[in-house]
Symmetry: C2
Subunit: 206 residues, 2 copies
DNA sequence: CCCCCATGTGACCACCCGGTCACATTAGTG
DNA sequence: CACTAATGTGACCGGGTGGTCACATGGGGG
């Protein structure tokens, strides 16, 4: 919801603003991010910013929307395989590709991480909305897993969603941990997913 | 590390200050919490606060320390059973009792939740310290589970820690969700733990 | 050339923050 | 009572914030 003026801008200037907003909101959550800092670093007059966006929240919402748009496109190839591979392979590929997204676009990634911690009431609504979308997508995946028999029919679906969501968030929060290099991180994701797949109880078979 | 003056205060006044600090830091994470708001609501002069504590962070560290002290005492009965019951029962009791803590002391609980989101550099050190303590405690528990045979020796211990920590944090963050009543919440915790225990793959036995 | 309108600007506003300090108040002691 | 030391106080400071507004700038068309 930027004002029309923003879209009349030459692309270069739009990118400049977007980039510096990205830098700021990647470093700080919404409440602590400073609009003054953004305009100073972008060498834009504060008043100009208010020609483009209604207020700080307007800018933030636009930024988050664009960031998630990019992430969704990045993950699309994984979703396209939904019917071809099983639940566990799909989950693995999903997190592996999310990790590559974080590597390639660390600022975008950090914005998504900070987004979930926001306390602003209006933004929390957006968060709940995004959460619902995830639940639906995950339920679809899980349903396919149940039908093909790779997922046990005994599990409590809500509990499974809860566990996967919790683990996904923790994985994503740690994607940029500098102590972990590429190879071991991919292995690590798979170790974690194996725990979810097989459980802690010993299995008699195999 | 409050100043000696603080401990010379009559207990009533100490409790007053503690209570209003609790209210503020339960509502906001460290950076967004307002010292001015605390002193105003407690009807204390701002200058007085600086007779008791070196600065905002000093007050916060003291508060967090007291809160975790209370929580540790509350959970002690569970740890005392460490040798008597198995890994999965212990985990269940641990989260059940954590949930009762959140119910009985919602402000204390909320302070612990906000604590983990803090970005202040000095406070992040405390966070890492608390995290190490948790890792050690959990490793001990898991080791007992392995020795007694209720936990599969094939699992990657680091991955198990990661999963349990992630799920614990998510459970705790949702403890005060008003949509969930007492009975169903206890059942919910057990459903989630069952997913971790048995995994998603169907089991041939049983 | 001038007029118009979209765009750019930065001083300025009210408000809030954490922290300080000169001074007032109180309580205990001889 | 007086003297001392501890404690209480709130106006004040410098610095930050999101947001505004009267005005400057510039480029295209009559």
């Amino acid at each position: 919801m930027p004002k029309p003026t923003f879209f009349n801008l030459p692309e270069e200037k739009r990118n400049l603003i977007f980039h510096h907003a990205l830098l700021e909101f990647a470093q700080f959550p919404y409440e602590q991010a400073s609009l003054s800092a953004i305009v100073n670093r972008a060498a834009i007059a504060k008043g100009s910013m208010y020609q483009y966006f209604a207020d700080k929240r307007d800018l933030y919402k636009y930024l988050v929307q664009e960031v998630y748009q990019k992430k969704r496109e990045f993950l699309q190839p994984v979703w396209d395989q939904k019917e071809k591979i099983n639940f566990f392979e799909l989950a693995s590929q999903y997190y592996q590709r999310s990790w590559h997204f974080a590597r390639q676009f660390p600022l975008h990634h950090q914005v998504t991480v900070n987004f979930w911690d926001s306390r602003d009431a209006a933004i929390r609504e957006e968060i709940l909305h995004k959460k619902e979308i995830r639940i639906t997508e995950f339920s679809d995946m899980l349903e396919l897993g149940l039908q093909s028999g790779v997922v046990s029919p005994e599990v409590d679906k809500d509990a499974v969603w809860f566990v996967y969501h919790a683990v996904a968030k923790a994985l994503i929060d740690n994607f940029l941990d500098p102590d972990i290099n590429a190879e071991s991180h991919e292995a690590y994701i798979n170790s974690v997913l194996t725990v979810l797949e097989r459980g802690l109880r010993p299995r008699k078979e195999q």
